[in-house]
């Protein structure tokens, strides 16, 4: 599907046509900029060029250079300046050209932004968004999933949508949120996933998970691109094994939707946690611990994890495919769990 220019959709009015995940992000940004003059975007190459992935294409022409700002290559300054602007009533949306580069702003995010409200009662409603994730042969520095690095930073929120509808509804919710939000956009989904946007002011609240597929024998708890891997595996397991697999799409990682996690555990009693981030220190450990603390007695099998191997993500296709979890890995792990 060719990428559309926002100017084709006057007033940011929701369209009933199917659009890509990427277009859904852009539509969400445009609607919020239209709605609230305090919303502005800043980042590298986002203005005239429209961003490395064209997420902001057309926005500068529509909203002007003041509200779509091309910055120097300075992630710490981008995030720091956003914080300062947010203290004085603005709603900045920062783009990391690749989310891998958010590490350059780690200090600013974890020490300054995350603590601002708590230590000094400073409002800091900023969004830091950017393309994340692998399966795209991007190599070690254009494929990362650094969400767990921010998971233990009180004061931040983390969103990681898997569908185009959620991408739009959650970027809008993130911009309106009074807390700082890290917003991960999986680049594998940008142009592969499409959806039809609900009419009206479509908001998907942060912190609420979504049952992507109903099932009764086994639960897969996951988020982002691996939601689609899990759905693919679930179809195969139903077809070949007669297994009924539930897939829970977390959507937000901070806060985690404990209620949805507990509900699916009580329903199926067997849990596989799947994520693309590396296994050690990944969010799968946290989810497993919460299940242990909240609903241990409802388990009929140990919670298992399918995640990336503990290596930097390599570039060559055979290497990347080996390191990252694939649908076939989820099928194999699910069979092990079902047979336990």
């Amino acid at each position: 599907m060719p990428s559309r220019r926002m100017s084709d959709r006057p007033g940011g009015a929701p369209t009933m046509a199917e659009i890509t995940f990427l277009e859904a992000i852009r539509e969400g940004l445009a609607e919020e900029m239209e709605r609230d003059p305090n919303v502005f975007c800043l980042g590298e190459d986002i203005g005239a060029f429209g961003g490395a992935f064209k997420a902001t294409e057309g926005l500068q022409a529509r909203f002007g250079e003041q509200r779509v700002i091309d910055t120097p290559i300075s992630e710490a300054a981008i995030v720091g300046a956003a914080a300062g602007a947010a203290h004085y009533g603005m709603r900045p949306v920062c783009e990391m050209q690749f989310i891998d580069f958010v590490s350059c702003a780690y200090d600013m995010l974890t020490n300054y932004v995350a603590t601002a409200r708590y230590r000094a009662f400073l409002p800091c409603p900023i969004v830091v968004r950017g393309p994340s994730g692998g399966y795209v042969r991007g190599g070690p520095f254009h494929s990362q999933n650094p969400e767990a690095a921010f998971l233990h930073t009180p004061g931040l929120k983390i969103a990681y949508p898997a569908t185009a509808e959620d991408a739009k509804g959650m970027i809008k919710a993130a911009i309106r949120d009074d807390d700082p939000v890290l917003f991960f956009e999986h680049k594998y989904l940008y142009r592969r996933i499409k959806g039809t946007m609900p009419p009206g002011d479509h908001i998907v609240p942060l912190g609420i998970a979504r049952v992507a597929r109903e099932g009764k024998d086994l639960s897969i708890i996951t988020y982002a691109a691996t939601v689609w891997k899990a759905l693919e595996a679930a179809d195969q397991l139903e077809r070949e094994d007669g297994l009924s697999v539930e897939v829970l799409d977390l959507r937000s990682l901070l806060p985690l939707d404990d209620e949805a996690i507990v509900a699916t555990v009580k329903k199926t009693n067997r849990v596989l946690v799947v994520h693309e981030d590396t296994v050690t220190g990944g969010i799968g450990g946290e989810i497993t611990a919460r299940i242990n603390e909240l609903c241990f007695e409802w388990l009929d099998a140990p919670v298992r994890r399918v995640a990336a191997h503990d290596v930097p993500l390599p570039y060559a296709p055979p290497l990347e495919d080996f390191v990252l979890p694939q649908a076939s890995d989820i099928v194999r792990a699910s069979r092990w769990l079902a047979a336990y």
Partner: protein, 366 residues
């Protein structure tokens, strides 16, 4: 150490009348008296954490902050107590902060002068990661520029913070965006124990301005009128659309990094030399009496009033309540407003404690 140039005798800077000259004196005196009181409280173990002095640097803090309007914003450093006072911080707030009181501006969440007020008095509390406030102030002032507001931001860094990436990114960003911002480097000779010549190979920190394409001005930081004059110029330059200015104020840190620091690394005689020959308050008193016709009695009256103010604030601060432990869980997020207390401190956690499913243990359908 670079010895600052001696100020030439001059008329009061434009716009400063006699009451303002005395006001500058009062702010410097209040800074020093309040810090001396904090030292006494520290020795009585009534100060919870470390104590950071600005002895000998009062002119930098006071003279620069005095060049700002109330609507302008500043971000202080640990040695800018004087700037905070000029901008409207109250001695009682400082005392409560240092004593970690429950009614302190941060309700015990942060130390010393690390607090902010972006609603009325307009200062943004610093964090300990040096240089980070430069990008933040770039964003504050970017906002003013975007909204067409007639406001300026001033951010302080030390000689040490000029070595950070955040300083570089922030001033460069602000310069490109022509933000109405003033960056003040208070060069006091030391970053903790590290002398400036171990911090940079640059002969003068102000020379970095050239690299950012902004004006740079170096001034005697122990001459409060000179500090006021150069800052006022930079503020007006920013206010009228000129963008960023980098100021380097030459001063000297007469106390250690914090009160615990013995300053063993300082060459013999250096501290005594600065105390005897280049104290900013002594220098200003000399000028006030010799050049501007101020009577010594007027200054003594200010000293007495300042001491009474600090005495009264100390009494109230000492009687302030301590913090309430569970309040620590409030205010991390706007929503939720309070974080949950962990299970070992209170209510048992749901299914595990309630043994919701004993009959079904170990089987799928049980």
């Amino acid at each position: 150490m670079t010895v600052p140039t001696t100020s030439n005798a001059m008329a009061p800077p434009a716009g400063l009348a006699r009451p303002q000259l005395l006001e500058l004196y009062r702010w410097m005196r209040l800074t020093r008296t309040l810090e001396e009181r904090l030292v006494a409280l520290y020795r009585q173990t009534k100060v919870t954490g470390g104590l950071f002095r600005s002895l000998g640097q009062e002119a930098c803090a006071v003279g620069s902050a005095y060049a700002l309007e109330r609507r302008d914003v500043l971000s202080p450093l640990i040695r800018n107590l004087g700037s905070m006072l000029v901008k409207g911080a109250e001695p009682i707030e400082i005392l409560r902060q240092y004593m970690a009181k429950g009614d302190s501006p941060t309700r015990g969440r942060e130390l010393n002068i690390h607090f902010g007020d972006v609603v009325d008095r307009n200062f943004v509390g610093q964090i300990s990661h040096l240089g980070d406030m430069v990008p933040v102030m770039a964003g504050v002032t970017l906002t003013f520029r975007m909204r067409g507001e007639d406001r300026v931001g001033l951010v302080y860094v030390g000689d040490g913070a000029t070595s950070t990436g955040a300083f570089h990114e922030g001033i460069n960003f602000a310069a490109v965006q022509r933000c109405p911002m003033v960056v003040v480097i208070e060069n006091n000779g030391y970053a903790y124990s590290t002398p400036t010549n171990r911090q940079t190979a640059a002969a003068r920190l102000v020379d970095k301005a050239i690299g950012y394409g902004v004006p740079g001005v170096r001034a005697d930081g122990n001459d409060v009128l000179e500090v006021y004059r150069v800052t006022k110029d930079a503020v007006e330059h920013a206010r009228t659309g000129g963008g960023v200015t980098l100021l380097e104020l030459m001063t000297y840190r007469r106390k250690g990094h914090a009160e615990h620091d013995s300053q063993s690394y300082v060459p013999p005689g250096e501290l005594e030399h600065w105390a005897a020959t280049n104290d900013p308050i002594d220098r200003y008193v000399t000028r006030l009496t010799a050049e501007f016709g101020v009577d010594a009695g007027e200054l003594t009256a200010i000293d007495d009033e300042v001491r009474a103010t600090v005495d009264a604030a100390t009494d109230v601060a000492e009687a302030s309540p301590p913090c309430d432990g569970p309040d620590a869980l409030r205010g991390v997020y706007a929503n939720p407003a309070e974080m949950p207390v962990l299970w070992y401190r209170g209510e048992a956690s749901r299914a595990v404690a309630a043994h919701e499913r004993p009959a079904g243990w170990g089987t799928h359908d049980g």
